[in-house]
């Protein structure tokens, strides 16, 4: 998983839900729409107009003009990310998300995969697997014209883990990516394998990645251990050379992965020490 980066909007002017909806309707102002889509997701808007407007925005397309500094299909990508944050009532968006999983735009496929995972859209499993079926040498090969891979492998692998459905075919695909040449992709595969099998060997692989010489890999492994809630990694997380903020997010994942009927004093003690 890639580490969360502070969004450029955190310090932007506060707006309210009505205003965000008005901005999202303004199809002649993509930058207002871009912000509005993010805002509605961030605030988990439950307004009856939110979902239909986001669904319309997910279909908006805008070709990249070299040098204009705007992400290709930026509004559609943000709208796609936003529906994943709306919770169960956004299940209406699942058919559209499945369509986007086959979009030619890499960023849209990535956003769609993440949202399908966070909505726990079990119907998406065959489509997610299909995009990875060709394995690390094809789906996981480097794209010809960019630094990305052919498929958004991390997002697809993690979404499969989020769905929580195991089986020989699923595990076979995930395992084939656990030895991918990029350690961050290995991390995503191990995370999902850990979630689906609870086998300690996958947790141990993630723990080993916490010692990787590259900070970016250590950050990914932190987030993935947190998402999988693997408690034997508590002390290893605390000792990782990375920002305390990320370690705290990972440890929160360990705490919240278990029922709350007893106190997690060991994890809390570690967290208190990182404040």
């Amino acid at each position: 998983m890639s580490a969360p980066s502070p969004t450029p909007f955190e310090m932007a002017e506060p707006i309210d839900e009505e205003e965000a909806l008005r901005w999202l309707r303004a199809t002649d102002d993509p930058s207002a729409q871009y912000y509005a889509a993010w805002w509605l997701g961030r605030h988990r808007s439950q307004h009856p107009d939110t979902l239909p407007l986001l669904l319309a925005a997910m279909r908006q397309r805008r070709a990249r003009q070299i040098g204009d500094g705007v992400e290709e299909n930026a509004v559609a990508r943000n709208a796609t990310r936003a529906v994943g944050k709306l919770g169960p009532h956004a299940s209406e968006a699942i058919p559209t998300l499945l369509e986007l999983l086959d979009d030619p735009d890499y960023g849209l496929r990535e956003a769609a995969a993440r949202s399908l995972g966070s909505l726990k859209a079990k119907a998406a499993l065959p489509a997610l697997l299909a995009r990875l079926q060709s394995g690390p040498d094809v789906a996981g090969a480097r794209a010809l014209d960019s630094a990305t891979l052919v498929e958004p492998c991390e997002a697809l692998l993690e979404a499969i883990g989020d769905l929580g459905i195991s089986g020989d075919e699923v595990l076979g695909v995930l395992e084939s990516f656990s030895t991918h040449e990029r350690p961050v992709v290995q991390s995503s595969a191990c995370r999902s394998l850990l979630q689906l099998t609870q086998e300690p060997r996958w947790g141990e692989r993630l723990k080993a990645l916490l010692l990787h010489p590259q900070l970016q890999v250590r950050r990914a492994a932190l987030m993935d251990l947190g998402a999988a809630g693997w408690r034997p990694a508590t002390q290893a997380i605390a000792a990782t050379l990375a920002e305390n903020s990320l370690k705290l997010i990972a440890l929160r994942g360990l705490v919240e992965s278990a029922p709350s009927d007893s106190f997690d004093e060991e994890i809390f003690e570690v967290m208190d020490g990182l404040l």
């Binding site: 920002e243 929160r252 919240e256 809390f268 967290m271 208190d272 404040l275």
Partner: protein, 219 residues
């Protein structure tokens, strides 16, 4: 190596890695003469070295407080943010005002987080009794005002700060204030979903449990 030599090796470091290990060695010396050099490092926009320098300032402790406070007038936001973290770690009561302001107004969640936990563990042993009560009361009010912070990690740190105040300064907190503190923790411990408790709710429940079972507080 003498502290002068350690400082010289920080100043002559020619790579990020060399700087980090030189700062780590200087920090381990825990020598007040290192304070100025460690404060300069906070402004380098090198998080690894800054973390090591903050550890060094905390290890120096009391003698570092005045220089840190004097350095806060800089315009470098990054350096000020690290300084707040050093003050929170040292726990000297002269840092109170800076921590109050940081918790209430700083834009960085990691700074508010450090300020909140620092407010719960100020070392007030050197102060006369009447001042202690006033500082405890101010720390408490600052923490109570931050219970609604938008970031979970800041609310988590507020819980830890409140627990620290109740358990270490319990004798100095009035009955009324202790009741307000426990009411705030109880508020943070409940959520809308009966089946799932998030990390802040769980930590608040633990804090209340510890306060009720510590026996160290009056009432």
């Amino acid at each position: 190596m003498s502290v002068e030599q350690l400082i010289a090796s920080v100043r002559s470091a020619d790579s990020a890695d060399a700087l980090l290990s030189a700062v780590e060695r200087l920090s381990q010396a825990k020598h007040p003469a290192a304070t100025t050099c460690l404060l300069e490092i906070l402004g380098f926009n090198n998080p690894g070295a800054a973390v090591a320098a903050v550890d060094g300032l905390i290890a120096i402790g009391e003698p570092a407080v005045e220089p840190i406070l004097a350095s806060l007038h800089t315009n470098n936001y990054g350096a000020r943010a690290w300084s707040v973290r050093a003050l929170a770690g040292i726990g000297d009561p002269r840092g109170l005002e800076v921590l109050e302001r940081a918790l209430a107004t700083d834009v960085g969640p990691s700074v508010r987080r450090a300020a909140a936990s620092g407010l719960g563990r100020l070392d007030l042993r050197s102060l006369p009794e009447d001042q202690v009560s006033e500082l405890v009361e101010r720390s408490l009010q600052a923490l109570l005002a931050a219970c609604g912070d938008g970031e979970w990690i800041v609310r988590y740190a507020v819980v830890v700060g409140l627990e620290g105040l109740a358990r270490h300064q319990g004798q100095r907190v009035s009955d009324l204030s202790l009741a307000a503190l426990k009411r705030a923790l109880a508020g943070l411990a409940v959520g809308s979903d009966p089946l799932f408790h998030d990390v802040v709710q769980r930590r608040s429940a633990l804090a209340l449990h510890r306060i009720d079972n510590s026996g160290g507080t009056h009432g």
